[in-house]
Symmetry: C2
Subunit: 353 residues, 2 copies
C-alpha cells in the first residue's frame, strides 16, 4: 500500500506539503505542486479513507435510509436511491444504504460511530418516531417527505398537495364535475405516510374549491383491488367521469378493467395519474400525469445535505412544483353521463372517505 509518506519521499517534500496539495488548504508553489502530483500519479497513491476520516472527523459518506415495505413502489425507491448516489458522487461523497428495519437504532449507529457525515431519510411518516432522533443527532439530516411537525428539519419533496390539486383543475377545466381518487393501499395511509396523505388532502380541497363531486378510495396493488376500488368510487359518485390515480401499480390494471367493460378512455372516463413520467408513457393508453421528479428530488436532498455540512443546517422545507404532462388518457367530459347513472344533479358535493 502506498502512503502519503511514500509520496512525500518520492517528491522530495514533507508529508504535510502533500496533504496541502491534495486539500488545497494552503498555497503551494506551482513547481512543488507539479512534483507532488507527478509522484501521486507515478505511485498510484490513493489516500486511506479510514485515516482521513479519523484525522479530519469527516467520513465523506452519507447514509440513505430506504423503506423496506412491500407496499411501497420499488421502482420509484430505486430511482431515488440511484439519484442520491449520483448526486452524492458529484460532491465527492459516498452513500451507505440503510434499511428501514434497523429503525432508529440504525440512525444512532451510523451517526454515533461517525460512519457517516449526514443522513437522508426516505418515506417519512406524519408522526415519524425517527424525526425526534434526527433532531437530537449531532449530524445533519434531510427528509424526503414532510412530517406533520417539520420544525427544525430540512425536508424536500414534490408538492403533492399541489399535484393533487393540479389534477383536479385539469379535469375540471375539461368539464368534469364528478371525480374519483384512487390512492395507495390502506396501510400506507394508516401509517400516515407523508406523500400519500398530502396528495389526498390536495385532491379534496381542490375538489371543494371547484365545487365538484369527489370520492376517494385506497387501493391494493392487484387486479381485484383495482376492480373493487373502481366499483366503490362509482358507488360513492355515480356519474364519475374522471379518475385520479396516485398508485403506480393500479394504473395498468385500471386501464384494462375500464377497457374490458367497454368504456372508452378518455371519452367515457378520463384518467390522470401522479407517478414517474416514464411509467405513465409505457401503457396501452399514454396517461396524463403529474411527474414525480425522483432525480430532481434526490439532487435537492443531496444539495441540502451538502449545504448543511458546510454552512450549518437550516430547516428549510423545499416543495418542488408539480408539472402536469397531458396525454391521451384525459379529455373533455362526456356530454351525457357515460353510464346508466342519473345525470340529473352533476355537482352534488360528495362526502369524503
Amino acid at each position: 500500500m502506498v502512503t502519503i509518506a511514500d509520496v512525500a519521499r518520492h517528491a522530495g517534500v514533507s508529508i504535510s506539503t502533500v496533504s496541502y496539495v491534495l486539500s488545497g488548504k494552503r498555497s503551494i508553489s506551482a513547481d512543488t505542486e507539479r512534483k507532488v502530483r507527478d509522484s501521486i500519479h507515478d505511485l498510484g497513491y490513493q489516500p486511506n479513507a479510514g485515516a482521513r476520516a479519523l484525522a479530519s472527523s469527516k467520513s465523506n459518506v452519507l447514509a440513505l435510509v430506504v423503506p423496506l415495505r412491500s407496499d411501497m413502489n420499488l421502482p420509484v425507491l430505486m430511482q431515488f436511491a440511484t439519484g442520491v448516489v449520483t448526486a452524492a458522487r458529484a460532491h465527492e461523497h459516498d452513500v451507505l444504504l440503510l434499511t428501514q428495519d434497523e429503525g432508529v437504532a440504525g440512525l444512532r449507529r451510523v451517526a454515533g460511530t461517525a460512519l457517516t457525515d449526514a443522513i437522508i431519510v426516505m418515506d417519512v411518516e406524519q408522526r415519524d418516531p425517527r424525526i425526534d432522533v434526527l433532531r437530537r443527532l449531532h449530524q445533519p439530516s434531510v427528509l424526503i417527505g414532510v412530517p406533520e411537525e417539520p420544525s427544525g428539519l430540512a425536508c424536500v419533496d414534490l408538492d403533492f398537495a399541489a399535484a393533487g390539486g393540479e389534477c383536479v383543475d385539469h379535469l375540471c377545466d375539461l368539464g368534469h364535475r364528478s371525480l374519483g381518487f384512487i390512492g395507495a393501499p390502506t396501510p400506507v395511509y394508516e401509517r400516515g405516510t407523508s406523500f400519500a396523505r398530502r396528495t389526498l388532502a390536495g385532491f379534496q380541497s381542490a375538489a371543494e374549491r371547484r365545487g365538484v363531486a369527489a370520492a376517494s378510495v385506497a387501493c391494493d396493488p392487484s387486479y381485484a383491488g383495482v376492480r373493487d376500488a373502481l366499483a366503490e368510487l362509482r358507488a360513492k359518485t355515480p356519474d364519475l367521469t374522471g379518475v385520479i390515480v396516485h398508485n403506480e401499480d393500479a394504473l395498468a390494471p385500471l386501464l384494462d378493467i375500464v377497457q374490458a367493460e367497454g368504456s372508452a378512455i378518455p371519452d367515457d372516463l378520463s384518467i390522470v395519474a401522479i407517478c414517474p413520467d416514464q411509467h405513465a408513457q409505457n401503457l396501452p393508453v399514454p396517461v396524463s400525469a403529474v411527474t414525480i421528479p425522483t432525480e430532481e428530488i434526490a439532487r435537492n436532498a443531496v444539495e441540502m445535505v451538502m449545504h448543511a455540512l458546510d454552512s450549518g443546517m437550516d430547516a428549510e422545507v423545499r416543495l418542488l412544483s408539480p408539472e402536469l404532462h397531458i396525454r391521451a388518457s384525459s379529455g373533455p367530459a362526456p356530454v351525457s353521463a357515460p353510464r346508466e347513472a342519473n345525470a340529473a344533479s352533476p355537482d352534488t358535493d360528495q362526502a369524503r372517505p
Copy 2:
C-alpha cells in the same frame, strides 16, 4: 464524544482491556468484563468507525454495485439491494451503494482507499470489463451472475439455464409441442447480460432435448413491444400453445393482449414466467413461475463474501436450483390447434432466433 479512553477511566481499567472486551480476542475475567460493559452502557460509548478502520485495516463495509440501466427491472434490483443490506447487517457489516456509471473507477476507488472490505457486483455481463479489475483488486469480490470466464471469481445466481429448462419440461409434460420464449429487451442480450443469455440457452437446449418446436424473441417493456413479440412468436411457430416469459414487465401486458383477442389462459395458451414469486401472483391470472429468489441469492452473496474475508477467497460458482410454482396460467395443451393454424406437423423443430 465518548472515547475508549473515557470508558477505560470510568471502569478503572486500561484502554486495551476495554478493546479486548469489545473484540473478545483475549480472555477477560467476568468481573472486569461486567465493569467495562457497564461503563460502556453508562457513557453510551460507540467506537469510532474511522479509528477502527485505520487501526485494524477493516472497514466493515461492503460495496454493492447496482446497474443503473433503464431496461433493467428495478423492483428486482431493489429486492437484491435490500437483501444484501439485511444479510450484511447480520454479519456486522454495512453496505455502500455504487452505481454502474462509475464503472471500473468506482471499484478501484473504494478498494484503493480501503473504504470497503469487499465488493458485490450485480448484473454481470458475459465479457464484463470489470471482472479483470476485480481479479486484480486486493479485495475479495462476489458476482451476482456468471460471466463467460468465471475462473478465479466467486459467483452466485439462480441457475437460469435450469430454470429455462424446467419451464420447457413443465409445458412439454402438459403435452405442449410448440413453445415460445419472450425475453428481455434486445439491448440486454446485446450487452451479453449473463442471466438473460443463460435462460435463453436453457430454453433452447431443453426444447431441442424434448424435440418440440421453439422460437424466441426479445421484448420491449411496453404494450406495443409485447404485442409485436407475440405476433413474431406466432409467425415463427404457428401452432404456439405455450409461452415462457422471462421479462417482468411483459407479463401483465401479455395477459391482457391474450385476453383481449379472446383466447383463454390456459385453455388456448399456457404461460409460464421466470420472475419473483410475488410478481407472478398479483396478476389477473395467477401465473405459473420459476421463482427468482432474490433474497436467497443476496444472502448467499454476502455469505460468500464473509467467507472470503476470513478464510480467503475461493472461486466458487454457486447456482441455486430453480423452483417452479404451478398456478392457473399453465394447463394441458389444447387437443386441436387453438387458432386457425395448421395442426398438421406439431413438432417441426423451429429455428432459433
